[in-house]
Amino acid sequence: MQSSSKLRGLLVITLLPALLLYSFFVIIPIFWSSYYGFFEWSGLGDATFIGFQNYLEVVQSPIFWRSFKNNLIIVGASVLGQVPIALGLALLLRKSNMFQRFVRSAVFLPMVISTVVVGLIWGYIFDPELGVINAVLRSVGLESWTRAWLADPEVNMYAVAVPIIWNYIGPYLIIFIAAIQNIPGEIEEAALLDGATGWRKLVYIILPNMWGTIKVVIILCISGSLKAFDQVFVMTGGGPAQSTEILATYMYNNTFLVYRYGFGSAISTMIIILSLILILISQVLMRRKD
């Protein structure tokens, strides 16, 4: 008993600095910001207490729900785009010869480029006059397919999702490769003896052994996409006419362009609540496999 309480004391002391820092910089600001949500404040002068008005306005704002829908498009694109692509690449690139190492670094490369640069590069790729995409379409005779990719509200949300997928495949690829390499050799050998090869081996041996990792990656994907901001902000700023507005740009624009700090804080709080709900749903949906 004596030693276990000592151990606990040690644990508390060693955890304390991290916990304090985390509380100061993450947990307390979250509550602070939800508190600011109760005020009408332009950033200058006095703040006036207005109760739940900001929160009500957020919930009733069609733009907020459009932003949420746009965020869900990014979540969908990430989960259905990043995860399968990363998984497929991981299965192809699990060995380590020169070529595979090269492809691996190539896929990982976008991850080390600043997201702002990614936004700028893709802004040029999508450019209706000078962009690569329209140039290629024109040169193969698909003139009618060319579009103003970022300006046309019918396609621009899907267009901005592409760079986000491209940007973040790298880390998931690495996680998946590690997971595949972690599958014990004995299991694979046993499977081989039982005649499990190809698809069979993938479905019955590799995927079940990686399920935990896949779950983690999906959660990371969802939370990452809800935080999406930089690429969209650089490429479109949420426009035109707020058609590519996502939750984070909506919050940013209201806080720092329109100077409604209280309203912006209320949006932030709603983002946190919605994110928690989404993560919870995904957890429940994936629980059955355990």
């Binding site: 004391g9 508390v12 002391i13 304390l16 600095p17 304090l20 332009s42 950033g43 200058l44 002068g45 802004g123 999508f126 450019d127 209706p128 006059e129 103003a148 990719w149 970022l150 300006a151 509200p153 621009n156 479109t236 700023g237 426009g239 035109p240 006419a241 707020q242 058609s243 624009n253 720092f256 362009l257 329109v258 100077y259 409604r260 700090y261």
Partner: protein, 433 residues
């Protein structure tokens, strides 16, 4: 357990010690003789005007060794945010550049700035040389808070002389001529008007403000801003929006104008891909820095065409006095004297002349030397002296109202409903007054 408590206590103390000091600069400066002066501005770029302003400050520092000038040049895009953030934290610098209009109103309303009227009393000649109306935006209850060092003229019509000649078209003077010129260029496969409306203030500030003033007249707009007997859902404003919609429907703008930025649009025009472009005076400096002499000579400049059946004047240019330096209300004593000195150095006749010679508009009566300034700038400066000013929309609307106009114009460019846009603007302006 006791040990544990003791350790926690020590940790907390350490943290408290970290957070304690930091803001005691003013108290600590007693023993040094130097007067400390902080100044923030947005002349961070490499253009001529930015460099000459930074040179003026450097010169001031050299001439006044007893003053320690702490200068921060913040890029234009982030400037408003930075200033608003430090204002919210009550940590404004002694002197900072402001924009005329609601931005300055906020500082005045919150008592964050103090008047610099003594400067004007001491230099009456300087005061009288400002152009008509130049000091109005900084006049609160008879006290002057700043002297403009810039003029914002946001709606010139630039045109490509060669394209007009080759296609036998006259530069349009009226709205009907304007629409027919647009159709003519479209039929020849030339984009009529270049515009880069990715940052959505562009359509509002350069084009719509001028059109709307011609349709509604200035008085109606000022009443609507104050919600005083006029509203943005009035038929006259719908009519103004419809004029803008007419441009869109006649395919005046290139595809993707909403995803092109202003600089790209300027280049698009300079490369001869578009016949005209409605843009602000800043275009003169950016074009003269980036294109060849021959290209510049081929560019003509005039006002936006008149709208004959409108209520407003036909030859106005949206704009007015631009930014100036404000003095923080917390600056007192020797620092205040030094600050007034610096503000004067940056806004006096010599400074205004230096700024004008770097191809930037000023609100000061100067006889420009045609040899030293760029021909396009010379033409524009004289155009401005003869034209009347009309209000720039987002300088008078609340930030929420301005944002609603910006987004609404993008919506119209995407085929949105004019009446709904008008309602959104009215709602945003009325709610956040």
């Amino acid at each position: 357990m006791k040990k544990l408590l003791a350790m926690m206590f020590v940790l907390l103390l350490a943290l408290a010690a970290c957070g304690g000091d930091g803001d005691n600069e003013e108290a600590a400066s007693g023993d040094s003789e130097k007067v400390k002066l902080s100044i923030w501005h947005n002349f961070a770029g490499d253009d001529l005007r930015a460099r000459s302003v930074r040179d003026m400050i450097a010169q001031f520092q050299e001439d006044n060794p007893e003053i320690e000038v702490d200068e921060q040049a913040i890029p234009v895009d982030g400037y408003r945010q930075r200033i608003s953030t430090v204002a919210a934290a009550d940590e404004l610098p002694d002197i900072f550049l402001t924009y005329a209009g609601s931005f300055t109103d906020e500082f005045h309303k919150s008592d964050l700035i103090q008047p610099i009227t003594p400067l004007f009393d001491d230099n009456p000649e300087w005061k009288d040389s400002f152009l008509k109306g130049a000091l109005d935006p900084y006049n609160y209850d008879g006290e002057l808070y700043s002297a403009p060092v810039a003029m914002s003229a946001t709606s010139f019509m630039y045109y490509n002389k060669q394209l007009f000649e080759e296609n036998n078209v006259e530069v349009p003077k009226t709205w009907d001529e304007f629409i027919s010129v647009i159709d003519t260029f479209n039929s020849k496969g030339i984009t009529p008007l270049a515009m880069g409306n990715k940052a959505p203030w562009v359509a509002q500030s350069t084009t719509f403000g001028a059109i709307a003033d011609r349709v509604t007249g200035t008085e109606w707009f000022m009443n609507a801003v104050n919600e005083d007997g006029a509203s943005f859902t009035d038929p006259v404003f719908i009519d103004a929006l419809n004029h803008f919609k007419e441009l869109v429907e006649h395919d005046a703008y290139p595809e993707g104008a909403n995803s092109m930025d202003n600089t790209q649009a300027e280049q698009y025009f300079a490369q001869g891909k578009a016949a005209m472009m409605i843009n602000g005076s800043w275009t003169i400096s950016s074009l003269s820095a980036s294109v060849s002499e021959d290209v510049l000579k081929n560019i003509g400049i005039t006002t936006v065409p008149a709208i004959e059946d409108g209520k407003g004047a036909g030859n106005t240019i949206t704009g007015g006095p631009g930014g100036g330096y404000l003095l923080s209300s917390k600056t007192e004593g020797a620092a205040k004297d030094a600050a007034l000195d610096l503000i004067y150095t940056l806004s006096n006749e010599e400074a205004q002349n230096t700024i004008a010679e770097s191809n930037s508009m000023v609100m000061y009566d100067l006889e420009l030397d045609q040899e030293t300034v760029n021909p396009l700038f010379y033409e524009a400066f004289n155009l401005v002296k003869s034209a009347e000013f009309a209000p720039v929309y987002d300088l008078h609307l609340t930030s929420a109202g301005g944002e609603a106009v910006n987004n609404g114009l993008q919506e119209i460019m995407l085929g949105g409903d004019v009446e709904k846009v008008a309602q959104d603007i009215e709602k945003a302006q009325a709610a956040n007054k």
